[in-house]
Subunit: 335 residues, 4 copies
């Protein structure tokens, strides 16, 4: 039985804790969250875990692994502690909003040789995974260019905007990671343009709410990331991979099956509400991936280095957005 601790009993911590508890061979031994309250208690009860401090977790030599789903600033220190104590790590993205801290945490992971995976759940979604496999198998022909669109249903609270590192680090990071996952190649230049078109409050907080990023790979292939903080019809997340023989398209997942046909046209159901619904199965499969990493050494779909590279790209995008210039990414580029 693999013994785990889960840090964070918030929205995403609950998902990971429950999926870990349901994973055969996994036992959630500890929940760590400084915020007392019924949510934390209920989670401990459901999963059969004890609520403890971080110290107790790292002092337990029988504990195998930790899941980091606590506040972002705690991620890097927890990764270091896991590296020091030899525990496997599943870390929600980003490792840190500070690129240098991410870099040193990833270096610690590599030096310690601990199993580590990053929480890019979209890589575990069946459709994106099948798309990647179809490209990798050669069936679709070479992937030539890529278009990724992601829109949240509505802008987040301003408090979240201020602490999340901004739209590039919070939202676009998933898309640039997907670009690397599918293109299988590093990025040579980045152009990004952000605007504040939806919510003046977001602009006052120093962030953008709409952005476009053009990525060019070392071999000249192109990817476009288009994000905004509001999808008029709800959560909107789609991707098109234009390959030599096929276009592969991941569409939104519809909320239901009822269609209404009227004189003005056919009304099909809107997309699923938000990422928790859309990626419910991906989160389960991601935790199964963590189990496979720990028990068999099966490489995860998203490594610590993938987290670092995605962050490098969003930092380059921020630089481009701020300077109005293209950022050419020589090897080892850093902000």
């Amino acid at each position: 039985m693999v013994q785990l601790a889960v840090f964070g009993a918030g929205r995403i911590g609950q998902i990971h804790a429950r999926n870990a508890a349901a994973q055969p061979g996994f036992h959630v031994k500890y929940i760590v969250d400084p915020v007392e309250g019924p949510a934390r208690d209920a989670l401990a009860k459901t999963t059969g875990a004890r609520i403890v401090s971080a110290e107790e977790v790292f002092a337990d030599p029988k504990l195998h692994a930790i899941v980091i789903a606590s506040s972002t600033s705690s991620h890097a220190p927890l990764v270091h502690r896991a590296a020091e104590t030899g525990k496997a790590v599943f870390c929600e993205k980003p490792v840190s909003l500070d690129f240098a801290l991410t870099q040193s945490a990833v270096a610690a992971v590599v030096a310690a040789g601990i199993p580590c995976m990053l929480g890019f759940q979209r890589r575990y979604d069946a459709a994106f995974r099948a798309l990647q496999a179809r490209v990798a198998s050669g069936e679709a022909g070479r992937l030539e260019h890529l278009i990724m669109q992601s829109r949240d249903p509505a802008p987040p609270p301003i408090s979240y905007v201020k602490t999340s590192g901004g739209m590039f680090r919070d939202t676009a990071i998933h898309d640039v990671d997907m670009a690397r996952f599918l293109l299988g190649e590093e990025i040579a230049s980045v152009y990004a343009k952000g605007s504040c078109l939806i919510s003046p409050e977001i602009g006052q907080a120093g962030d953008v709410d709409t952005l476009m990023i053009t990525l060019t790979t070392e071999s000249g292939r192109l990817a476009q990331v288009i994000n905004c903080r509001r999808g008029p019809m709800g959560y909107d997340q789609r991707l098109e991979a234009v390959c030599a023989r096929e276009v592969l398209r991941v569409e939104n997942a519809p909320q239901g099956t009822l269609h209404v046909l009227r004189p003005e046209g056919t009304l099909a159901p809107p997309p699923m509400n938000y990422f928790l619904e859309r990626y419910a199965q991906a989160y389960r499969d991601e935790m199964a991936g963590f189990a496979a990493l720990i028990t068999d050494g099966t490489p995860p779909l998203a490594t610590a280095r993938d987290g670092l590279e995605a962050q490098r790209l969003v930092e380059a995008a921020i630089r481009s957005h701020e300077t109005g210039q293209v950022v050419v990414m020589a090897p080892g580029w850093r902000p």
Copy 2:
């Protein structure tokens, strides 16, 4: 140059006359229509035809063919005249609302050996034709059952209801013809149930506005015809052929390409307005089929006998509807 006369300068006559005039090797020499007016004159002008009487048409030994698109009661007499004078015939369905008259007109065509095709334009529609070919080729596997739905955008004027022979003879005839076209086998029993649910005036005129017909072929395959006089979203004409390896589905043709995505869902454009838009190309291809029949003897997709058999089936459906009983169709069944 094949010389033609077109009988009827109404809605459908204009289509056939214009398509005939545009057909390479065809010359529309005469238009026959007793109703004077600008529509008739404009049609004559556009097609380069002269307006003459029926007598002149049949007295012209150089005229090769006639297109019958005049009022229904004139069809059978014109077919007889064509048989007597050895002219090729394209006849709009039905040959007659009276089954016995249809039977004798078809017999006259067969006896005279004149080229003759019936105006079941759906057989010339690219989608239905491709479906038929895919079934005939064996690719789809045996066609096991068939579902056909046809709905007009709105009920016709009561004057039309009264003279068109009723909904079975006017509307369902296209679907039962399609059943024969696709199943390639005769029908052994018919059950039909009609209701008046949409328009009380139609009921007062002695007709139904909604109907379902179950056809069973000699080998036990099944087809369902569902018709009503009003598609809430417009002209609605679809077909599903459930085969052993595939389901083949003809969908409505959308009116445009603009989709509107809102919180309540995605609004796709409604179907094309009506049969003249939906089947514009099919009518052109049908006239090309008539040309091929005359010039090369290429068998048309719909023969005089197909017209007779489709009428036999709707007469059986009417009998079933009126008696509330299943009609078993022994060979040669007639109303």
Copy 3:
């Protein structure tokens, strides 16, 4: 805490037992299944239930309710025992393959006044439920006719065919129930035609594998049920309700979100594999409906009488199929 016993630890029993165990305020106290084995034991363990005999269940005065998901022949006797001992009943359809036995079991339920619901899970599916509500609210206009298609992915084993009461009682019963649910009116006549087109073994076992049923309501509205034992593209279950102002259409639920665009066209994902996937949420909502029935007396969407009437209709359909005649259903009609 409501104490329940679940009869049957097979496929459907496991779903109901797990959903009952997850239902707040419900405790699955007993599992009853004569077949020993790991599945039964695992189910008892997961739900925290004890494996007991039927006698122990009915002897326990603290037990409130039973869920009947055992073999069909056991349903009616268990319903009678529940009526005698005053326990609430959730019974999988059908109550009995023998109409008279169903009738007496339903009479016992009514006489005893016990809460009782039937397992027509489709009534609890969000799409069918929303469709029913939209019709009931008047928004869609009067429902004039209805088309229901259901196809299993592949024919069942012959052993199942022989014991399930045949395709009418096993498959069509869901569609005729849906017709009653949506039309909100009783049926006045039934025409049914079945054929054996897919599997000769099914024919040898005395059953059909393809069927069409025409239902006419007392007020003349029409419904068509089309079933077959094999959907070439998988599990195919769709419905169209043609109303005065809208067509409401329940489509298949797609298996995923990846589309492949190639020269021959756009390939969209096939439907979800089978009813367990498609109706996973409906089964959960159905059990929540049972909880609401027991705790608040909220009427269930499917009552014992609904079960009886659906069976009456399939018996009429069987009679029609066997005699080749329309069955007119005077009040109280019975096979």
Copy 4:
């Protein structure tokens, strides 16, 4: 009767000449094309025009208007002649591959005050037009960002690549024009990245076959143009306008209505083959727009200045692509 001359009897000249001939009140008096052959003769015959030289056209004081669909290098001189002789002009895009020549031709048009429209037929397509109207009416909310994709079915012959001015001037010009049409605002900065990923021959000819262009308007709204020389499934031209309350999407127009459902999914028909099919009606409506311009002075949807501005944008895009830098477009920017 408006008397017209059509320059060019090639593919696009034939379309315009035929549409002009079919336009009520229009008479195609002359066809001008130096290339003798059956195509030119047939066009003259169909339209009832005489084949003459350019000199004869401009010497005819009774001629009202010219349609320029000849080779690109002839466009600007013909526009100048039309301005000098006071004839209305319909000019296929681009006016010239040389921006300065375009500028002086447009200046001549403005100075002469002749009616002039540019051949951006997409502006006349019903879907793009309805989209523009829906944005302009305010119904959709402010258009915040725009994504345009255009792909030809297959790379053009290298001879065409070499003479067409390259992919930016030939293909992207339609999309940047559409951006201006929908955004209703000028562009403040352009970033473009082109690659050669599909056809090495195109690269050897000094052109790209894949490109992405980011346009930022003066108020900070964003538009993305994505083009490549090969749509794996055929002619692929789509647009999404993300507005405050709706997403408006122009989809491809399907080639037919037959869908094939198989275990691997549902195969919908591919897009219409190419622009001539897709925009057949738009070309007719465009010519009707020219008629309205001449007879009533109705402003055309695309003016000479629109042609100039679209060329300015593609020149900026080329500059960006060549320098690897963002081009900031101060007022009056020119290459």
